[in-house]
């Protein structure tokens, strides 16, 4: 099982979201796609999910070009609120469950309990933290081959962040899934990562195994990323 992006370019207007990006992701690994806001992380995830299309290049999953149908195998947590405001929590869960055959109801029930979400509440009445939790329930309850998390900690307090990390550890099958987390909050996910990929305004400027980074170079992911950015900006002045 693998995801491949080959020479992918994606533009929004005159701005490049991704510039000739080639990268692949393999089963059994946890990847961190790190970079500042607007660096192309969300676009990369949307392209993998089939929610956006490359202007140039190709994106494939298991050697098949990605399409909307690919979402059958990819659980995607968006940075944005992708909810129907008038739905209750339960209706939201039921809708997602109806669309994805890999939705695991038992897991969803456990997650709901753990996240302390009231299933009768309407989405529009939920706090930002609880919306984040609900997104996590609908994503992690799927036994999908690929899990994509786009800024899972965005705007959430430390308690919620902690519960998200715990849920990731408890509910994901790290040996059989690809987990890709896109975030600019590097410290939160560093302990989870196998590999870090640095993205900077459309360019992939580095990719490193986190263990090697720590043990051989004595760098944290954040320090490594800062070094890369300085080097990249120096070269492109």
């Amino acid at each position: 099982m693998s995801i491949k992006m080959e020479a992918v370019t994606k533009k929004y207007g005159k701005d490049y979201a991704l510039k000739n990006v080639s990268i692949s992701f393999e089963k059994g690994r946890i990847y961190g796609l790190i970079g500042p806001n607007g660096s192309g992380k969300s676009t990369a995830l949307k392209l993998i999910t089939g929610l956006a299309f490359p202007d140039e290049g190709s994106v494939s999953f298991n050697n098949q070009t990605v399409s909307r149908k690919t979402s059958d195998s990819i659980a995607y947590l968006t940075e944005l609120d992708m909810f129907y405001e008038t739905f209750t929590v339960q209706e939201t869960i039921d809708y997602v469950a109806s669309q994805f055959t890999d939705f695991n109801h038992e897991k969803a029930t456990l997650l709901l309990k753990e996240m302390k979400l009231d299933t009768t509440k309407k989405v529009k009445t939920l706090s930002k933290g609880n919306r984040g939790r609900l997104k996590l329930v609908t994503t992690l309850a799927r036994d999908a081959e690929v899990i994509l998390l786009d800024e899972p900690f965005s705007g959430l307090d430390p308690l919620v962040r902690d519960s998200i990390v715990k849920s990731l550890l408890r509910y994901l099958d790290f040996d059989h899934q690809i987990l890709l987390i896109a975030t600019h909050e590097i410290n939160e996910i560093e302990p989870l990562l196998d590999e870090a990929i640095a993205i900077y305004y459309g360019d992939i400027i580095g990719q490193e195994k986190v263990e090697e980074l720590r043990e051989e170079q004595g760098l944290s992911v954040l320090e490594w990323f800062k070094q890369l950015v300085e080097k990249f900006e120096g070269e492109n002045k």
């Binding site: 533009k11 909307r68 979402s71 609120d81 008038t86 469950a97 109806s98």
Partner: protein, 259 residues
């Protein structure tokens, strides 16, 4: 819950409020019509309401579709689904069709009530058979018109959202829609001006059903009956055009509309 049922339930939930509001407004209008007729002892009240609501039903389906698509357009969550774009759109068509049928049944019952009970003193009565024949004819016509216009709306909406990808025309997407609208209608008018085509198109007609209208004369309402001829070729043309618009809209939704 199977995926289609899930989609149908979702589409019902996102449109329920608007539909119930519409039904509420309709009931107010129907009551107003009865009140007016009772007060004046003339069928003018109910008749006006029947005509107004009948006309509004021609645009009910496309307005409902546009409202649903605008709701979906806010976050495009519906596109994050492995279901085909045909299924995503057909689910909305199905819900709208159910709404339209409920509304039309209500209006048909109201019309029957108005003619056979409330207006029995003032209307020259149609036979029940003829009334049913007429009701079926008008209702099928309204449903087909609704589907045809809804296909156009869906087509325009997907064109509009697909053009978002192209920065040069992104800010002029409305102009593209207007250009397609006027361009198509102009083309249709010009083609119909060609005698040979016009003659061919209206060559085959089907004497389908009586066309009725109400006429007020000597303080009495009479039902005038005439035969209506349905041109066959335009009918099939509109069916094919609807299918084509739906097909293009589905393709655009799958390949060009992005989240």
């Amino acid at each position: 819950m199977n995926p289609i049922k899930g989609l149908l339930k979702k589409d019902y939930r996102i449109s329920r409020f608007l539909f119930l509001t519409w039904i509420g407004a309709m009931l107010v209008m129907l009551s107003f019509g009865i009140g007016m007729s009772a007060y004046t002892n003339q069928p003018a009240g109910t008749l006006t309401v029947i005509v107004l609501l009948g006309l509004s039903l021609a645009v009910f389906a496309p307005v409902m579709m546009l409202s649903m698509l605008v709701t979906e357009g806010k976050n495009q969550l519906w596109l994050y689904s492995p279901r085909s774009s045909y299924s995503l759109l057909l689910s909305k068509f199905a819900i709208i069709l159910i709404y339209q049928l409920i509304t039309q049944v209500l209006l048909t019952i109201y019309t029957a009530f108005s003619m056979y009970w409330f207006g029995k003193a003032v209307y020259e009565q149609l036979s029940i058979g003829l009334f049913l024949e007429l009701a079926i004819f008008v209702n099928i016509g309204l449903v087909l018109l609704g589907i045809f216009l809804t296909c156009w709306i869906t087509f325009y909406w997907t064109i509009y959202h697909a053009l978002k990808r192209y920065p040069k025309i992104r800010n002029f997407r409305w102009l593209v829609i207007i250009f397609i609208f006027f361009g198509y209608n102009l083309l249709e008018t010009l083609v119909l001006r060609i005698d040979a085509i016009s003659t061919f198109i209206f060559k085959y007609n089907l004497d389908l059903l009586p066309l009725t209208s109400l006429n007020y004369e000597d303080e009495s309402w009479n039902v005038l009956i005439d035969i209506v001829e349905i041109p066959i070729i335009p009918f099939f043309y509109f069916v094919i055009l609807s299918l084509f618009l739906f097909y293009i809209a589905s393709k655009l939704l799958a390949k060009k509309v992005e989240v």
